[in-house]
Symmetry: C2
Subunit: 133 residues, 2 copies
DNA sequence: TAAGGTACTCACCTTTTGGTAAGTTGTGGT
DNA sequence: ACCACAACTTACCAAAAGGTGAGTACCTTA
């Protein structure tokens, strides 16, 4: 296998060169990166991360923000993201309960990469779904 | 609601500001961007896009590359990506059959955003899954 | 002659994901 | 006295995603 052979038909500036070791690290089944990728690219994971990238928000705000999410999925998604060290949970001992969620530093790193992706999806969604080139 | 109020506890340089209109466009249920986002962040979609970012590849190469994918899912994923105008399918009328897949210009745009994300996941996967801060 | 590669599709079944509705706890409002 | 609110959990069910194994057509290699 010769890694220097690129399809001649593709414009030079469009090619994405994979960083050293990425391919070997991501493509194998059951590798850690696949698990993490599954967490952060999950249906609701992206939306919650995106919402929190605007700043700390409480449970009920997130629920209204990510329109269509069920309470079960919000709880589940937040738990996963918290376990992964992407989201910080701050529970106030007050009545009625108040819990604030925010991104950790790691979470902000991630959301910095997620925002361009979502922006692109937002800008291209109509063309893509209408079958326009 | 005051958009200028940011959590004071977060370092200025970590905040990700959402582009104008993004929040309204992405958060509503059933909006086009959610559909597109689901396609490209699907379990196998990311891997296929990533593999193709290295250049044109044929069916059997992709199958071996994205370790663990079934033929059914490879076919399905490629079809979705082709319909979305991200992947180009070139079938040679030869025996045995030969079909080459490559990214379209739109696909390369996307993979340019996907690569940093996957790279980040790859670099942070072990820390995340081991519960390290 | 038989097996194997190539790029698929199809039918069937399992696993995962996600939704619904109810229950919980304690206080404040009517 | 009773309902609502907040942030959840739990049990149950439906839907979607995904895997398995077979079949297809034709040629090449052993």
């Amino acid at each position: 296998m010769d890694a220097t052979v690129w399809p001649a038909s593709l414009p030079e500036d469009l090619r994405a060169h994979l960083p050293e070791g990425l391919a070997d690290g991501v493509f194998p089944a059951g590798c850690p990166s696949r698990t993490v990728l599954d967490h952060i690219t999950s249906k609701w994971g992206v939306l919650i991360l995106l919402a929190l990238s605007e700043g700390e928000q409480r449970w009920s705000e997130l629920r209204r923000r990510a329109e269509g999410i069920s309470e079960k999925m919000l709880a589940q998604t937040l738990k996963t993201l918290e376990r992964d060290g992407l989201v910080l949970r701050k529970a106030q001992p007050v009545i009625p309960p108040r819990v604030d969620y925010s991104l950790t530093q790691r979470g902000y790193e991630l959301s910095g990469l997620l925002v361009p992706l979502v922006t692109w999806a937002y800008n291209n969604a109509d063309d893509i779904l209408n079958g326009e080139r």
